[in-house]
């Protein structure tokens, strides 16, 4: 494992240059530190409330590498339980979602209520009067809280409250959620899942990278040009424009944004439909319409992205393997044809057979190939460092193609790694 001084130089933050050591994408010891100190100490997104609406609903999730069950208990509360029998450690829940009043361990038939309480042990007479059952309930993840339908949990009991944690990014989550006139969304049953043979942070960096679009997604721009939806040069011009409508942002806790008021993809533009705008205006106020329809990719560090069409979750598997899940959302309260068209556009750019995100995944494999060349060591993320500015809310703001988000991500990442190593 790199010694603490080595850890200190993994991120080099200078006035005109920002560099990251490429070993953060290859080193197994650094990955272990990430599991303990990034995923172990941060609020993590685990599920959406629409997936566990009714008492008895559950779905499984992973916190870092730890399997958990997100359970809506009989009294309507949310609990996040480690998916591990308190007897000999077998998982008590095999399905990824479902409805159950109890979780039963198949190994020796220990039975737990869906709030984790142990209610049955097979052949109980084998345990004597001195045997203490009081600590044999399924262990609950210590912190669980929700915001705008997003369920977060944290393995660290001493973490700050979710409200404090989301300070700054909450306003953007509100705009995202209020694309529904009811302010709520329903995630679909179908989940698009990708795996790629590369480090999870390549996806972390990429979703708020406004610099790559004209190059990695030239294929998609040509498709839009061919279909007549948008001329390719207009896509390029929109992405490159320097104005307040076209920015990247970095927030203190590693959250980040790519924000393009005029749209990023030039695809299905329900935000321009007068009936949709009237609905949003009536529900949320005319003064909020532009804020709500501005297109944003929102990163809630470390494992959640909110895109217009979907919720995206990053699941690190190892230093060199990652699973990405995208959960398309249906906006509650809008016309059905809008949601159907949103699904088709999602499949078109973001699906596993799509014309967009698949090209990003290919880049991640190029990244992973390249960083094996440790002789070159550094990754440069300096773009825009001399033209960024600090906004009213303490956020750093740059051109949409600048690496403001990547700097925010790695400052926070480094802070957590160093704090953990102390």
């Amino acid at each position: 494992m790199p010694s603490p001084p080595d850890l200190g130089s993994l991120v080099v933050d200078e006035p005109t240059r920002f560099r990251v050591d490429g070993r953060i994408h290859t080193d197994d010891d650094i990955f272990e530190l990430e599991m303990d100190h990034v995923f172990g100490r941060s609020w993590l997104y685990v599920a959406h409330e629409s997936e566990v609406r009714s008492p008895g609903d559950y779905r499984t999730a992973t916190m870092g590498r730890q399997p958990v069950i997100v359970s809506r208990t009989e009294d309507g509360r949310l609990r996040v339980l480690f998916n591990r029998c308190m007897h000999r450690g077998a998982a008590v829940c095999r399905a990824d979602r479902g409805h159950a009043n109890h979780f039963r361990c198949p190994y020796h038939n220990w039975v737990y209520r869906n709030d984790g309480t142990l209610v049955g042990m097979a052949q109980r007479s084998g345990y004597g009067p001195g045997f203490d059952r009081s600590e044999l309930d399924l262990v609950a993840v210590p912190r669980v809280a929700t915001y705008r339908g997003l369920i977060f949990a944290c393995l660290d009991p001493d973490v700050e409250d979710l409200t404090a944690r989301l300070d700054g990014v909450a306003w953007y989550i509100d705009q995202w959620a209020d694309r529904s006139p009811l302010g709520t969304a329903t995630v679909t049953t179908g989940v698009h899942r990708y795996s790629y043979p590369g480090n999870w942070k390549f996806q972390l960096e990429n979703g708020v990278d406004g610099y790559h679009g004209n190059y990695v997604h030239e294929s998609f721009a040509r498709i839009l040009d061919r279909s007549g939806e948008r001329r390719r040069q207009d896509v390029v011009r929109t992405r490159n424009a320097t104005n307040e409508r076209n920015v990247s942002k970095g927030l203190p806790r590693g959250d980040a944004l790519l924000e393009r008021a005029d749209g990023m993809l030039g695809t299905f533009d329900y935000a321009g439909r007068s009936d949709y705008r009237a609905l949003i205006s009536a529900a949320h106020g005319a003064d909020r319409v532009q804020d709500i329809v501005t297109q944003r990719n929102i990163l809630v560090f470390p494992n959640l992205y909110l895109f217009e069409s979907h919720i995206r979750v990053m699941r690190p598997v190892s230093a060199r393997e990652t699973i990405v899940e995208t959960y398309p959302t249906l906006l509650d309260g809008v016309a059905d044809d809008i949601n159907t068209a949103r699904l088709r556009e999602h499949e078109r750019f973001f699906g596993p057979s799509s014309f967009g995100a698949t090209d990003d995944m290919e880049i991640f494999t190029l990244n992973q190939t390249g960083v094996a060349a440790g002789g070159a060591r550094w990754l440069d993320m300096s773009r825009g460092i001399e033209r960024e500015r600090v906004g009213g809310g303490g956020e750093v703001v740059g051109h949409s193609t600048d690496e403001v988000p990547q700097r925010a991500i790695y400052r926070r990442w480094h802070e957590l790694i160093l704090a953990g190593a102390r």
């Binding site: 679909t188 049953t189 179908g190 989940v191 698009h192 899942r193 990708y194 795996s195 790629y196 043979p197 590369g198 990695v216 030239e218 294929s219 040509r222 498709i223 061919r226 279909s227 060199r320 699973i323 990405v324 398309p328 249906l330 059905d336 949601n339 159907t340 699904l343 088709r344 999602h346 499949e347 078109r348 699906g351 596993p352 057979s353 014309f355 698949t358 090209d359 995944m361 290919e362 880049i363 494999t365 190029l366 992973q368 190939t369 094996a372």
Partner: protein, 172 residues
């Protein structure tokens, strides 16, 4: 025919179905994607569903109408689609062909499909030189137009449809 009535479509048989499906496989494996498109009707659909088969409310892996099929081919042949640079080498193996229904100019055919796929480049690089096989069960809705059987809808239920996919950018 000797009584002067119009010739109906040739009735669908397993041999005819196999001929069509093998031809499709050859187009795909030869990367003649424009040729592949000629096997489909103008209102065709190419569908890779996931478990929840409700396109209005649920995502699919692929739910292409004819226009999007054209986009898919255009992307693969005429744009810098990084996920296909270098392109996939594929082998579509079609088996278990059955005629499920045949009714005048319409027929439904089922088949099993295994696509063997690999991308060759610098074989030491991450993501390349990893041979994979994608298996699925196909249903073809066929329509006879002007004496030619065409594919009106191709549905492929992949064995791995709920699993994480790595580079499903070639045509199944």
């Amino acid at each position: 025919m000797n009584d002067g009535s119009h010739a109906g479509p040739p009735p669908m048989s397993r041999v005819l179905a196999e001929d069509l499906l093998y031809r499709e496989a050859a187009y795909l494996d030869d990367r003649d994607l424009e040729g592949w498109l000629t096997l489909f009707t103008a209102d065709a659909r190419y569908w890779l569903p996931m478990d929840a088969e409700d396109p209005a409310r649920e995502p699919s892996l692929v739910y292409d109408d004819r226009a999007r099929m054209g986009e898919r081919v255009f992307r693969l042949l005429d744009t810098p689609a990084h996920a296909q640079l270098p392109p996939s080498r594929t082998q579509h193996d079609v088996t278990n062909v059955r005629v499920l229904q045949s009714n005048g100019p319409r027929a439904r055919v089922a088949a099993h499909l295994v696509v063997h796929e690999v991308r060759i480049g610098d074989v030491s690089q991450v993501g390349l030189a990893v041979p994979r096989s994608v298996a699925g069960r196909c249903v073809y809705d066929l329509r006879c137009e002007d004496g030619t059987w065409l594919i009106a809808m191709k549905t492929v239920r992949l064995l791995t449809r709920e699993l994480p996919q790595f580079n499903l950018t070639f045509v199944i």
